[in-house]
């Protein structure tokens, strides 16, 4: 029941604790013979170092913190999965906290992680986090910090993002290439950088292709949920707006809109084309299948941990790496909701 300690092994073998410790860690100043003896005994007794003591002594916990707005979210899910996996490979454990998009909670959780003495922190900000003092505190304490997806440009730490502006530009361009000329945008909340950037990319694409930007064609989704997509789609129809394309901030919103159009007999993609964002796997299971922008959560998660790990290593060596911002690639995926494919044509004729 009780866990065995170095002391017990030492007493059993009649040698000192120090030697036992060193033997287990293959120090050069322990003879092969005693090493073998100690290791055998440790094995036999199923010795496991007491991590509390190790932590105290080495001042590191081999534990890192991760704060995200929502665990359930499919995109974060992939990121989480990747981070956990990568971290485990390097012997790190991940403590996950969910901010529920609540800046107050986010602050508390940062404090919690600091008090637990995590070695590093990864965070995707709550949508409406404006005060970054808690993050400044993390930096002040010298705790490596990596931000991803939802970032704040005010914090001088490393960041892993996608080029939202470019991705949105490409998505909008895709609709234009499919023949849309009056494109609405179901945008995300006003604050987080990526919903701003997606909006800007959308706007830029219109301008670059000689289409007029109309602020009435921009609908705010706050929060970014299924129902908002439905709401705005209904608004578009009820007000009889002249729209032939929609670029939605997120697949979730796009699917909400799609469900309304299906219900109200609007033919997608013939009457109206839609493209979402994030390539949620279920988007390929809709009828019609949903066009979207693919952002690889797994790859992103890997990158996030790898960056943090680099900074952890650097810190151990007494160095401090200059912050770095890395943009991950994205890709427009054209599907049934924006493309009148040959198959779709056949089915209709």
């Amino acid at each position: 029941m009780e866990q065995v300690t170095l002391k017990q092994i030492a007493e059993y073998l009649g040698i000192s604790i120090a030697t036992v410790s060193k033997a287990l860690k293959d120090y050069p100043d322990v003879s092969q013979k005693t090493k073998a003896l100690v290791k055998a005994e440790a094995e036999r007794l199923n010795y496991q170092p007491n991590s509390f003591a190790v932590n105290l002594r080495t001042k590191e916990s081999r534990t890192i913190g991760l704060i995200i707005p929502e665990v359930v979210h499919f995109f974060f899910g992939n990121i989480v999965r990747a981070i956990i996996t990568e971290a485990e490979k390097k012997g790190y454990l991940v403590i996950i906290l969910q901010s529920d998009d609540n800046p107050e909670l986010e602050k508390k959780q940062i404090d919690l992680l600091i008090s637990k003495r995590v070695d590093g922190i990864m965070i995707s900000l709550a949508n409406n986090t404006v005060d970054t003092s808690h993050l400044q505190k993390v930096m002040r304490l010298g705790i490596p910090l990596v931000m991803f997806d939802k970032i704040s440009k005010l914090v001088p730490c490393s960041k892993i993002i996608i080029d939202d502006r470019k991705a949105a530009y490409e998505a909008t361009k895709h609709l234009i290439e499919q023949g849309c000329t009056k494109i609405a945008h179901f945008r995300g909340p006003l604050l987080p950088q990526n919903s701003i950037d997606r909006f800007l990319g959308y706007k830029k694409a219109l301008e670059d292709h000689g289409l007029e930007y109309n602020s009435k064609h921009v609908f705010l989704c706050d929060p970014i949920i299924y129902e908002k997509g439905r709401e705005h789609a209904n608004a578009v129809l009820d007000e009889g707006m002249d729209i032939d394309g929609i670029f939605a901030n997120t697949d979730m919103v796009a699917i909400g809109a799609l469900s309304v159009f299906n219900e109200r007999g609007i033919k997608v993609p013939q009457d109206l084309k839609i493209i979402g964002f994030s390539n949620w796997f279920i988007s390929s299971a809709m009828t019609p299948t949903l066009s979207t922008v693919d952002q690889d959560g797994i790859k992103m998660g890997k990158k996030v941990f790898k960056r943090l790990f680099k900074e952890l290593q650097a810190k151990k060596n007494g160095q401090l790496l200059p912050p770095e911002t890395i943009a991950m690639p994205t890709k427009v995926i054209g599907r049934g909701s924006s493309m009148v494919s040959k198959a779709a044509l056949t089915a209709k004729s």
Copy 2:
């Protein structure tokens, strides 16, 4: 940069470390005056106890482990969310590990958690975990253990589950009540208890209602994914099977089947009725909306943590609670995929 310690406060105030420690914890043998002094100073210096030292001294980490097959999964997502929230309220941090339904990995992760000296462990087993020695080890070490959802009856610990057999029975009965007489079952893998129970519930419902059980009507989904639903739905059609209802092990599978029927012009629910399992939120966004069995992940998560907490408390008091198995309620939710509602009738007429 460096964290302040009791020693520093003590030196600054010219008193002993012991007194500082006791003052902060409101020991009765410290005067109000020094308590005030110490607290003010601690506040000013932003003192935070070094949890490594606290852990070592108190032999508890206020950290608990959670192992689940898949974080991304919406059902587990809800559970995770609930557990984290509840745990935080009681001052516990949650370390989440993902087993990827891999028993080997699961074993390793248990060891990892043990070596990190978590105070307790919650686990939903990998689908094909048969050897439970790693769990026995947890119990042998006296670490409180709570299993949920995917459990093993061989481990004498507390368990939080749903009554899968009853739920499946109700789901099948629902189809029968809607007029189905030839009901197929897209079942889950052979091993985990809940997919066995769902199958048994399905079978029992058939028998109780005078319908013949036909093993050809049972399709194995291993793993339980969207594609399996498609695959079997196609098989049903290709082989021209005489089927008028499907009870799927999971919404995911049901949605896969639904997409095939939509594509191939099978009218749901007129030609064929479907019911899924778990009430994945997207299931109400399908066309038609998907009937399902609601199992409340949030409630379950809460229950899981609360039970673990109870055992943690008991352990502190030197007690050992007898294991308890709690079944959470479920509810059949009839929607468009199994019910020809008035609205649907109108639309068709």
